[in-house]
Amino acid sequence: MEKSTIVCRCEEINIDEIEIAIKNGAQEFDDIKRLTRCGMGTCQSKICMNLVRKIISEKLNKPLGEIAPSKMRMPLKVTRLSALTKNIDLCIEEKATLEEGEQTSV
């Protein structure tokens, strides 16, 4: 396939950029993300995660099951700041501020 083919629709990262990141030592999705912005757009890697994992698996000759998925971060879907801050007082009062979960491992 042409190396200029887009993999991440949102940030418009192509195969070539991902392969270069792998050559530079990337081994899992989040390495690619940090090096290229792949998966950092509005969909937050929902579409490209498994596409990228497959490329890594093929390039590094590692089973797909061993390639860690992207670390999901809140909010899980596109959310307006106004919707997030509307009840902020109540959330502080309950000491229930949004906080990230522990690292997910495969």
């Binding site: 929902k46 809140m74 909010p75 307006r80 919707a83 979960g101």
Partner: protein, 366 residues
């Protein structure tokens, strides 16, 4: 703002979530279902094919009518539907953060059942980002839920039961399917089925590119080494499904991998409880299966949640659980069931727990 509390919170109102809700609410639990969609039913809403492998208590029927069935079953039960509400995260005290687009609020639960279903995997090729290139599921939504023609001249990428089914549905509404592109070897039976309805399947074929100015206008295929051009206004990507994981990841549920379950999925026990206590998984999120498997896993998760809430007698719970697992064994494709049982065994092993004799029995059976 009201502080919302419930016995059982269900994320997703597809068949698994609805069946879990029905089971839970008809045994005395308070239930809230959260779904970001406008109406209940998940992907059932646009399924016009007849669903055959349904559990005994359901009549064989089309997907969209099964949604109506559920609506009738559920309307008199103590269930709160929060439609157009999206789970976007968790709070420090483990409440689920839900937004309706205007505000965000916590929902506190005793048991959480996540039935977020599956997503269609993409296939990449030059031009796949063009308007007019969409997943086969998206084309089916336009056709059957929205009653909008997704195109006039179409190519379908990927040859499987679902892509052929939607291909037939598209044709019945007047879309010309120029070809279904099969990568390598394909199911002979499926090929004959396509032939019988006059849909061309090209094997050993790939797409080279899709091109167009503002939307897709042309695709070039490579069919067994020979290039073929087609003028099209619709390209459907009919790839496999994989479980939707975001909710599990944010809840720190550990993940596992099984090719036959659709790739990565949350680890679970035979209770369908994940490695995060009180968080259960049901439906395609617990591994890609058929509609029967989706419905039954919804019920299994609900029975286990009910039992741990002490809303069921042990004997009642035990008998029904066993019956459900046996039903699942019969209704699911054997390789999916095997992969599921193997995955459950792994979970027990990883947590250094003894495998319940019942699961061992199931293992032996398959």
């Amino acid at each position: 703002m009201v502080k919302i509390k419930t016995d059982i919170l269900i994320i997703g109102s597809g068949p698994a979530g609805l069946n879990a809700a029905y089971t839970a609410a008809s045994h005395g639990a308070n239930v809230i279902i959260v779904d970001e969609a406008i109406t209940i039913g998940g992907q059932l809403k646009q399924q016009t094919q007849i669903l055959n492998n349904l559990p005994g208590e359901f009549n064989s029927q089309r997907g969209f009518s099964l949604v109506d069935d559920f609506y009738e079953r559920l309307k008199s039960l103590p269930i709160t539907f929060l439609l157009r509400h999206t789970m976007i995260g968790i709070y420090k005290n483990n409440s689920i953060g839900v937004t309706n687009g205007k505000e965000t609020f916590p929902i506190t639960y005793k048991k959480l059942i996540i039935a977020t279903g599956a997503a269609e995997e993409a296939t990449i090729f030059p031009g796949w980002t063009l308007p007019g290139v969409m997943t086969i599921g998206a084309a089916q939504i336009l056709l059957n839920r929205e009653h909008v023609l997704p195109g006039n001249e179409a190519i379908i990428l990927g040859f499987n039961e679902f892509s052929l089914e939607v291909g037939k549905q598209l044709e019945s509404c007047g879309v010309n399917i120029k070809a279904i592109v099969a990568k390598g070897n394909y199911d002979v039976e499926l090929f004959h089925e396509a032939k019988n309805v006059g849909i061309r399947v090209v094997s050993n074929a790939t797409i080279i590119s899709a091109t167009g100015v503002n939307e897709v206008e042309k695709v070039v295929l490579n069919i067994d080494g020979i290039e073929e051009e087609h003028m099209v206004d619709l390209v459907c990507i009919g790839n496999r499904l994989s479980p939707i994981l975001e909710a599990f990841e944010i809840l720190s549920c550990q993940l596992a991998y099984q090719e036959d379950l659709g790739g990565l999925f949350p680890k679970y026990y035979n209770s369908l409880e994940t490695t995060n206590t009180s968080v259960y998984v049901a439906g395609n999120a617990a591994g890609i299966t058929n509609i029967g498997g989706i419905l039954i896993t919804g019920e299994i998760a609900a029975w286990n949640a009910l039992y741990s809430l002490e809303l069921l007698e042990y004997s009642q719970f035990k008998n029904r659980s066993r019956a459900l697992w046996e039903q699942l064994y019969r209704i699911e494709e054997s390789q999916v069931f095997k992969a599921r049982i193997a995955a459950i065994k792994e979970t027990y092993k990883d947590e250094s727990l003894a495998l319940p004799p019942f699961v061992e029995l199931l293992l032996e059976e398959c």
